[in-house]
Symmetry: D3
Subunit: 228 residues, 6 copies
């Protein structure tokens, strides 16, 4: 035997794209070990666009199940909010199906800061407390569409637009959200612009925000410790 | 002037398809009057695939808003369940965005009977009470994938498969669901097979269910009064 | 070396999704051995959304070919009908191309029972004999759209709707159908609702059909032996 | 009243795109009069991507029906072949559903000449007679994949590739084909290259085919009279 | 006659979605007057997802043409850059075809500031001068992928990610870009976050950027005058 | 151990389809060795619909980069033109993103001969020189839409239609084009119809072009040596 191959599949291995699944479900195969290819001295994972499917005969109810969305998330963080996502990583049966759920907890004055989901619209309903929410439309209008939501209220944040949710009250707030992707992705503006790795050239940011470089320094003095 | 045309747009007028909207949102224009075309003696509505968009300049926060999802639905019906859908008909801002929410209320022993959503996967979380839920896979296996859910539990019902939720307990149950379409559509098996208008030929049903025509008569003696 | 990996690819291995193939064809590679991953003590097939492609250089006319659609299918079955599908399993060249053909044979009084194809519209033309055909629209109208077809007649069964074809005459009937998927999938209502494995709880079915549990027992006394 | 508007809808008016219809069907509204907009002195039809939908309440079985596919087409033409298409123009119920049927008749030595359907794969089965069929793969291989088909044989012509069917025998031949679009479109090579209106500059064609301009003249001396 | 209707079509009227056009082209009908519906006292435009198609018989070469992409854009603006887009608004023939071009001019030290195109990937090639370009990946890595480009260099900015181009030199720079949508849309971070209308609550921004409200005031003291 | 498997991935291995990537980018993994499966005596590559993704952690700016589009291509060929494509094979970061660029060089009287891209619309801008360009619409009109382009002019060639570009002048010409696919594919009419391998039966071509077989012989006397 000259060459031996080890295939171990990373939990992030992806093969299927979103639209038009070719079977009723294609449960992500999280039980599989990391798929690594050893060829002589090289070793690398097989990563593709979507997750591989678990053998339909081995699929069971647990693959479509998640437990604990009634439990508060930990909001003891810099921004006072926490997102518990029930996406394809948590519930493998969501693979290829174009939807996920999330619970968002807010401490008093907790903020889910300005961010976008380029692959998902969010529809959110407030379960408890009150939230100031909003999104901003694209150039050139840049209109802020905002609303204060109370329990039972529902709000839509269209795919690709920058949006936020802010708990202005002194009590906790809780929301449940549906997202139109099993793997929505998140781009938080502050993280992307001021806390990238490496950082964006200060000249670029100073010019973009039309401020002195010192202000850019002040906003972004050191790496992030936690965050959304 | 020989011909005068009246265009009044039905609130169900649809122009946009699901994938790849060409703007960030296309709020369904529910405020527009019915669009009717009068040509001489004829008059007809303009119906297409999706809803027309409201002028973006006239869009406001109300278009993305719905209120009252914390209110119990009326379960005093034949099957003891009620679905409150927050879809494009209720929240015009969902137009083209591929997602909706729903609240499902169950009286004790209430049933959301076997049905399919050909355009949507459902992800449901139990807010209160307990539910027996399940879906059946396609031919030839026809496996029943089922689970008893309690508060905080989440379950996935893949697009196109027949599924149900049943409250086996003597208390009310409540669930919140995300659906992967702004206009999911529902085909309830009993309605489609036994209560269509007109009814399917008894010979067909007797042969399909491999029973005597009397049984078909027994199951389907008269038109439905309410239902999902 | 601690771990050795065996990759053998199941003939049902699927990698490509329906829309927008990236080459002109992607012939399903049915000649490949089962792809199995042996990691220590575990062994499992690699299943994804669609079929892998045969090397384009090895593709030949046989991959796009099927023979025998002029041969009557065996209708000596419980329901007196037989479907001969020319789909991606039979003709590998259909992979990713979104279409398949089928021949349906009906013995006298043969029935293709109420069923749906969640991934395909059917367009059927009668070659011989006569058929009562119909489909039922969704909630809340549940209209039955039906027609008696004779040789040369064509009828459309829209994707996702429950439909049937019934040979009411005492002669054989034959139809040729085009389906808008290379792998349409079938959900037969009686199989899914009364003959699932395990069976759906009788309480659910009795309530859904608004009949006594004895009727459910009568309809579904034992497992199916054959069927569509 | 300064301006009067006349809306009359052309039978070719199109509003819906192919993927993901938002209702189960969207029957093309062929009964509607031409939709024309008169604004002052201007008058123009409203043409969009797909057909408008007939009111679902007015839809009936005739919308999903076509009759006469058992009738031979007229092959008394220059190339000795005839295509009878059952597409959205013939059967309005096919609108948005992504499939159509066709019957192709061939006189002895009749030819369906090299052409492409950029929006559809063809799956064809021979009902009667014998056909030489083939398609050519793309650059740089340009492989001809061909086969002689007899009754009951099926062949696939992948979307976008140039293909032909030729009756080499002295008897008639008949085929039934499924196409993966309700409106496939046809580009016949000879029509597009040698018979366009106006004609392509002879210098271009002479250089492309690496022949003298006289040969181009010889091939394309005058406008086409009939053809596919 | 009680009601008279005026239909005048806005040049921004949109009917077709991106994927799978149903004809080879669907030229946006810019020549049509505004489509306005007058019903008694109300008057509103018809806006949908995409543009209506010009009558194919009236289409000519001008519909697929744009002139002047060799002319420098005006960079005498706050940020020293200018984008000349050849999109569906400029070249109506691009309607439904999923692509557009752009020329970007940079004065010395000119910046195309951090922004996203949620519906388009950009592929850019430098024609003249030198540019520092980059994009930032999503949470949680937020990696900055950057490069200095010179004439003849090409760089890809994936759909949905925040990116920028900066002319660090003292000479002009010019780039030509392809974008994967006929109507890409732009969200400039500074405009959306600091210059929306109305402005986002300072408490939200101060918390998001983890700075004092005075810094937010400093960055965003007054409305924008020009910009990208 | 009876069977040993070697997986080495061909650089043309394809896994992802065009629409809706599930991450922001999925860089084609060109660095991976050929993926070959050895099962006993058989050995074959794994080919699927799209390319596998490089590990996101290993992605760097080079993956999104191409250099040299300012360099003239070699036009010393039969037709006097040369296409330099910056597609997914050249720039791996284009994988799944639906766009590519190309530079086309024309010697005096150079021709990019009649061809189609079944998966891409082309938008071309002339950088230098002058070009006669055109495309032909589908049956039955077969209209030639043409234009003479000079520097700074832009023209659109809709997906699937036969088109050409011809340098009628005695100076070189250069164009830059955007294409709406990362892997557009090319079918050149003369190659497909007269130079396929094996050749199309002369009877078919003589009948299609309505000429004597000698003319077909004259046009296609021997295999192609170079070409587009």
């Amino acid at each position: 035997m000259l060459i031996v191959v080890l295939l171990a599949m990373a939990s992030s291995v992806v093969l299927a794209s979103d639209p038009s699944p070719l079977q009723y479900f294609c449960v992500a195969d999280k039980a599989s070990p990391e798929l690594i290819i050893l060829t002589g001295y090289f070793m690398f994972p097989l990563l593709v666009n979507g997750f591989v499917c678990k053998n339909p005969m081995d699929v069971n109810a647990e693959d479509f199940f998640f437990s604990g969305l009634n439990m508060p998330g930990n909001t003891n963080k810099r921004l006072g909010s926490n997102v518990t996502a029930v996406d394809v990583k948590k519930t493998a049966g969501l693979n290829t199906l174009g939807i996920s759920l999330a619970r968002i907890d807010f401490a008093p004055y907790g903020l889910n800061p300005p961010h976008t989901h380029p692959r998902a619209t969010v529809v959110l309903t407030v379960i408890e407390g009150s939230l100031l929410v909003g999104f901003v439309t694209s150039n050139p209008q840049n209109r802020l569409i905002f609303k204060v939501l109370n329990a039972g209220d529902v709000f839509v944040f269209p795919e690709g637009l920058i949006h936020f949710q802010f708990n202005r009250g002194h009590k906790n707030a809780v929301a449940i959200a549906g997202l139109s992707s099993q793997k929505p992705g998140v781009i938080t503006v502050t993280n992307a612009v001021f806390e990238s790795n490496p950082k964006i050239d200060e000249s670029v940011l100073a010019k973009a925000f039309q401020v002195d470089k010192k202000v850019i320094d002040y906003i972004s003095p050191e790496p992030v410790m936690d965050g959304q």
